[in-house]
C-alpha cells in the first residue's frame, strides 16, 4: 500500500451512554468496594513479644549510629561503635540465642510469617477476582464491535488484543474494542480513587506492584525468612567500615556561622 488513508467509521452517538459510561461506572464502584473489603479483611497487627521488639530496635540503633555518626564527637562515636560491634558479634540482642547457627524460620512453619503471607495473599485475591469478573463480563456483553479511535498510532501486533471480536484485516489498529476501554480505565482511574478514597487506598494496584518490586526496604528485618544473626553481623561490618571517615559537624561551625551571617 502506498499511503494509509485515514479510515473513518460513523458511530452511533448512543455508544457513549450505553457502553463507555457503564463500564467506567462499574469500574469505579468495584474499586470502591474492593477498597473497603480490603480494609475489613486486614487482620490487626500481631502483638510482638518484648525480645522480638528489642531485637528489631537494637538493630535500628546500629543503623542510626551509622547514618548520623557525624553529629557526635569522634570519641563518643568510637565508644558506641565498639560496644555495638561487640554486642552484635556476641549476639546479645537475639530473640532466640539457641537458633544462632540454624537456617532462618520457614514461613510455612513460623506463625508470625504465616500471618504476613496470608495478608499478602488476601490483598492479591482482592485485586484479581474483580478484575477477572469484569473482563469476563465485558467479553460477554461488549464484544464484536469497535467502540472508539485511539489518538495515537500503534503497531499491528496489538490488533489481536485490542480488536478481539472484530476480525478484519484492513481495519486500522487505532480502532479498538471495549476491552481496551477497560484497560484504559484500569490505569486511568487511579486519580479518581485518590480523590474519593483519600491517598492510601487499596484500589490502587500501582502501589501494590511497586511494593512488590521494591527490594525490601523496611520490610527486610521484619519479614520471616531473614536470619537476624546474619543481619546483626552485617550491621557490625557496616559500622566498622564507617568508622574510617568521621567529620564532626561541629568542626568549623564557627567559621561557617560567621561567614554566612556577617
Amino acid at each position: 500500500m502506498a499511503t494509509v488513508q485515514a479510515q473513518t467509521i460513523l458511530r452511533d452517538p448512543q455508544l457513549f451512554y450505553w457502553i463507555l459510561f457503564p463500564i467506567t461506572v462499574v469500574m469505579i464502584l468495584t474499586g470502591v468496594l474492593r477498597h473497603y473489603v480490603t480494609v475489613l479483611m486486614q487482620s490487626d497487627p500481631k502483638k510482638q513479644e518484648l525480645n522480638a521488639i528489642s531485637e528489631q530496635r537494637n538493630l535500628l540503633r546500629g543503623v542510626n549510629l551509622r547514618t548520623n555518626h557525624n553529629q557526635i564527637p569522634l570519641s563518643s562515636f568510637i565508644a558506641r561503635k565498639n560496644y555495638l560491634v561487640a554486642a552484635y558479634n556476641r549476639g546479645d540482642f537475639l530473640k532466640d540465642p539457641e537458633n544462632k547457627g540454624k537456617p532462618p524460620a520457614n514461613p510455612m512453619t513460623d506463625p508470625a510469617g504465616m500471618d504476613q503471607m496470608m495478608n499478602m495473599l488476601k490483598g492479591n485475591m482482592a485485586m484479581m477476582v474483580p478484575q477477572t469478573l469484569i473482563m469476563g463480563w465485558i467479553n460477554a456483553f461488549f464484544s464484536g464491535f469497535v467502540i472508539m479511535k485511539l489518538p495515537f498510532p500503534l503497531t499491528l501486533r496489538f490488533k489481536s488484543m485490542l480488536q478481539s471480536g472484530v476480525a478484519t484485516r484492513d481495519l486500522d489498529v487505532r480502532w479498538v474494542s471495549s476491552l481496551s476501554w477497560y484497560f484504559l480505565n484500569l490505569f486511568g482511574l487511579r486519580s479518581i480513587f485518590t480523590f474519593i478514597l483519600g491517598n492510601e487506598n487499596s484500589a490502587d494496584q500501582m502501589a501494590q506492584q511497586m511494593q512488590q518490586m521494591n527490594p525490601a526496604g523496611g520490610n527486610a528485618m521484619f519479614a520471616p525468612g531473614q536470619d537476624p544473626n546474619k543481619m546483626f553481623l552485617a550491621e557490625a561490618e557496616n559500622l566498622e567500615v564507617v568508622g574510617g571517615q568521621h567529620e564532626w559537624v561541629l568542626d568549623g561551625v564557627v567559621d561557617r556561622l560567621l561567614k554566612s551571617r556577617v
Binding site: K47, I53, S54, N58, N64, N68, V254
Partner: protein, 309 residues
C-alpha cells in the same frame, strides 16, 4: 463545626500547649463547650487527639469533671484495655489522688499490668513518671534504663533520662543521653543548644582554668550549630552571647579572641533584633516565648551596663 475547627487551629498554632500555663488554661476553658457540642461525637483521628489534649489540660488546670468526661468517652471508644487508655486512666488517677497511699496503689496497678504485658510502653512511661513524683529518682532512672535497653530508638526517653541525670549532677551521662537523641534526630537544634548549656554548666564544677576555657569553647560550638540549623533560635543566641561573653572575660588579653568577639557581637545583634521586634508586637515576631525574651533583654542590659562602666 466551629469549635472543632477552632480547637484544631489552636493546636496547630500551639503544638505543645501544656508547656505554657496560659495556653493550657485557654484550652481547658474550651473543654465544656466542646464536650457538650455535637461535633465531639465525630469519629475521626483529629477528634480523639483533641480529646487527649483536652484531658491533659483540664487535669493541669484542675477541671476534673471535664477531664473525667473526656476519659470516659475515650475509654468507650477504644475500650478500657487499650494501652493508651490505660495510661491515661492511670494519669487521671495520679492527678486526682489525695494521698500518698493512693499513689502507691496506682503504682502497684502499673506493676501488675506490666507483669502481664511487658510490652505496654505507655504504662512503662507512666510508671517512671509516677516514681519521679513519689520522689524515687533512682528507681526511675533504673526503670528508664531498662526501657531504653529494649527500645533504644525512643528519643523522648533518652531526653528524659538526660534531664534526670542532670538533676543528679551527672553531667557526662546527661550529655551521653543527649548525644543518643542526636543520633535519632540529627537536626534537633534544641538538643544542640541543650548540650551547650550542660557543657557550660558542668564547667562551673570543673577543675582548673584551662578546663573551663575548653568547656566554654565546646559549648560555643554547640550553640553555633544550633543557630546554624535554626536562624532565629532565641535559646541558641542567648547561650552564644552568654558563653562568648564569659570566655572574653576569662581570657582578656589574648590575641586569639577575634572570632569569639565577632560571635558575641553577632549574637547581641540578633538578640536586640528579636527583643525590639517582639516588644513592638510586630507581625511574624510574636512566636517567641515571652519569658525567654525578657531574659534576653536582661542579658543585653547587663552587658551594656558592664561595658559602660
Amino acid at each position: 463545626m466551629a469549635i472543632l475547627k477552632f480547637l484544631l487551629s489552636y493546636l496547630s498554632v500551639h503544638p505543645s500547649p501544656l508547656r505554657n500555663p496560659s495556653t493550657s488554661l485557654h484550652l481547658s476553658q474550651q473543654a465544656p463547650a466542646f464536650l457538650s457540642s455535637s461535633e465531639s461525637t465525630k469519629d475521626t483521628q483529629e477528634t480523639w487527639l483533641i480529646y487527649e489534649q483536652l484531658l491533659l489540660s483540664c487535669l493541669r488546670t484542675g477541671d476534673d469533671n471535664s477531664a473525667r468526661l473526656c476519659l470516659q468517652r475515650l475509654s468507650d471508644r477504644f475500650g478500657v484495655d487499650s494501652a493508651r487508655v490505660k495510661a491515661l486512666t492511670g494519669l487521671y488517677d495520679e492527678a486526682t489522688s489525695n494521698s500518698r497511699g493512693e499513689l502507691e496503689s496506682v503504682l502497684q496497678r502499673y506493676q501488675d499490668i506490666l507483669k502481664e504485658d511487658p510490652t505496654n510502653m505507655p504504662i512503662e512511661k507512666r510508671r517512671i513518671s509516677l516514681l519521679l513524683s513519689l520522689g524515687r529518682t533512682e528507681d526511675a532512672i533504673k526503670a528508664l534504663t531498662s526501657l531504653l535497653s529494649h527500645s533504644p530508638n525512643d528519643a523522648e526517653s533518652w531526653a528524659h533520662l538526660s534531664s534526670l541525670y542532670f538533676t543528679q549532677g551527672l553531667y557526662q551521662q546527661s550529655i551521653f543521653c543527649l548525644e543518643e537523641v542526636l543520633l535519632i534526630l540529627p537536626n534537633a537544634y534544641n538538643i544542640f543548644a541543650r548540650i551547650g548549656e550542660v557543657t557550660y554548666i558542668s564547667s562551673s564544677t570543673g577543675a582548673g582554668s584551662t578546663d573551663r576555657t575548653e568547656a566554654f569553647e565546646e559549648a560555643i560550638k554547640y550553640f553555633a550549630r544550633s543557630v546554624e540549623l535554626s536562624e532565629w533560635y532565641l535559646r541558641g543566641w542567648y547561650g552564644l552571647k552568654l558563653v562568648t561573653g564569659k570566655l572574653i572575660q576569662a581570657k582578656p588579653s589574648d590575641g586569639t579572641l577575634g572570632k569569639t568577639e565577632s560571635l558575641n557581637q553577632l549574637a547581641t545583634e540578633k538578640l536586640v533584633q528579636i527583643v525590639s521586634k517582639f516588644r513592638r508586637n510586630e507581625k511574624g515576631w510574636m512566636g517567641f516565648d515571652e519569658a525567654e525574651v525578657l531574659a534576653a533583654k536582661d542579658l543585653i542590659d547587663r552587658d551594656e551596663q558592664r561595658f559602660s562602666q
